[in-house]
Amino acid sequence: MSWRKLPRLTFWRLLLAVILATGFYSALLRFTKGLGAATALTDRFPWGLWIGFDVLCGVGLAAGGFTLAAIVYIFHLERFQPIVRPTILTAFLGYVLVAVALLFDLGRPYRIWHPMVMWNPRSVMFEVAWCVMLYLTVLALEFSPMVFERFRWQRPLRIVKALTIPMVIAGVLLSTLHQASLGSLYLIVPSKLHPYWYSPLLPVLFFVSAVGVGLAMVIFESNLSARTFGREIEMPLLADLGKGIVVVLAFYALMRFRDLASHGTLRYLREPSTETVLFVLETLLGVVVPLAFLAFRRVRDSREGLFAAAVLVIAGFLLNRLNVSITGLEASSGTHYFPKWTEVSVTLSLVGLGFLFFALAVRYFGVFGSHSAVAEAQRHPKRLDTRVHVA
């Protein structure tokens, strides 16, 4: 067993240790000195990196979970089964870290349970809170078979497996609502958010782009796993996901530009401004270039090409969420926000923890090990819904 000797010191482990140590110090600062001391937030700019990146981007990047669960369990495209488990794991960790980020950002984190008993159904934030709670529960259940298998707990395993379909349906609905409602959060600021990003369609745009980036994240994560854990990469599956991204991005681009054109927003393109640069960058990086690349079969079938396109989609997505939550609001706020090192440090730590927990889960649970079950399911499709491993 490896715990008998100290783990080998590699560059990545050293980097992670430094990040986590700094993050721990930042956390101390945050919880002993308050938000004012630990962030660059002000009355004019009350939401910063923790909401813009940790929450908005974190939730979006976890979207692979519900997308793939729907593909495999609802649409019965069982050949995608081998990548369901790592994707569910990514989503679960993503959501856990989003909840942790919220604890950092809330002024009174010990009251995070208040929305459970103090209701205001008119509030988007209320909906967000409930979706996070419920979907986190669903993800924990979807992840639980990996734990139950490890300890050979047959009874809970059977119960959870019997619940697969209702669970997946609930998960898809909750994610849909949640991804969309993160966009709805900004519907209330028509006079504050720059017209490039404000739209009555924000919830729909957030949902569609989340599906796109969810697929890109599966490709991204599969590549990293293949390299880190020395696994065979599921190229034909990933190439098909690339095709999916083309459809989603094309749909997104069409909707976005129709929307911008209908509000007469495209005239702003003639004005050189920070917003214009960021908007063009976001569109080229996250939509136009990957769409053009992925349209070619040669790119989709090449591991490097597909990976590069996925990275572009993810980068464009991150830029979009940060534009909506930070840069698009700067002009009207009359101030400039740039995150303090403590905010960056906490954010990096959360990302680092995500990688760490993923690696640990791969080591201790059967994250990649359900191929035989799929093969079995394909031989006995009659028993499809009961025999296929829950993600």
Binding site: L41, P46, P121, S123, L173, A180, I188, P381
Partner: protein, 252 residues
């Protein structure tokens, strides 16, 4: 009858009596803040040579109250928008949502609260008027029923058409506010946002939120249906394969 405050900036002499009175009524330190802070919930700004008070507008349908996930902010029937600090979890969505940028946060405290003018709701409950309007020596700010104050404001605009911009700021902005302003210069010059819609902001959200029950109902049926159909198709394909004696993989 809902109460309101009418601020006639042409009458304000910038004495700051309302500011001191506000601080005294709310138990806040007397300091020289030049803009709204967690310790100054009412401030007199000098803009374009005009003195203009800034404090919570007490919207008729307030964005802050509609976005608060725990209902810590509430519009009372008599006018004030009030804050229940024991509910607040500190998400600061109210600060994001406020079109006038009013709510402040106690950033320096480990357990901060949102701070804003309450239109002296506790004083009003005792039958008193807000501290600021009571303190004003020149009646630049007056307190009364909103409808009556609107009538008063219209009279002033009519009687002195050259002395005022012909607009009552707060009558229609975001569906109306319980604080109304009159001015001789443009409201934009006084630092009021000009692109404020006349619809109540919560409507923008409600249009979407009201669709959720439908999304859930239709979504459940749709997903369940797709699941059932694709499963059935796989079973049929399997059965047909078995008849021919060559069972084949079920995926499409």
């Amino acid at each position: 009858m809902s109460k309101a405050i009418l601020v006639d900036t042409t009458r304000c002499i910038g004495c700051g009596a309302c500011v001191s009175a506000c601080k005294e009524a709310n138990g806040l330190p007397q300091n020289e803040d030049t803009m709204l802070t967690a310790e100054t919930l009412n401030v007199v700004e000098s803009r374009s040579g005009v003195f203009v008070r800034k404090f919570c507008m007490h919207c008729q349908d307030p964005a802050c109250a509609s976005v608060c996930p725990v209902g810590a902010l509430r519009k009372t029937a008599v006018g004030p928008v009030i804050y229940d600090e024991s509910r607040c979890m500190g998400c600061r969505y109210c600060m994001m949502a406020c079109p006038f940028g009013i709510p402040r946060y106690e950033w320096k405290l480990v357990l901060p609260r949102v701070k804003k003018c309450t239109m002296c709701a506790p004083r009003q409950a005792k039958g008193l008027q807000p501290a600021c309007t009571e303190a004003c020596p020149v009646q630049a700010s007056i307190f009364g029923d909103r409808d009556l104050l609107l009538g008063d404001a219209e009279n002033r605009l009519r009687q002195n058409p050259g002395g005022y911009v012909q607009h009552i700021y707060g009558r229609d902005e975001v569906g109306g506010t319980s604080v109304l302003y009159l001015s001789a210069v443009s409201f934009e010059a006084l630092g009021f946002p000009a692109n404020i819609p006349h619809d109540p902001l919560p409507m923008y959200t409600y249009r979407v939120l009201s669709k959720i029950p439908n999304v859930v109902a239709v979504g459940t049926v749709l997903l369940g249906g797709i699941w059932w159909i694709t499963k059935r198709r796989a079973e049929v394909a399997y059965a047909e394969g078995e008849e021919k004696g060559t069972p084949k993989a079920s995926d499409s």
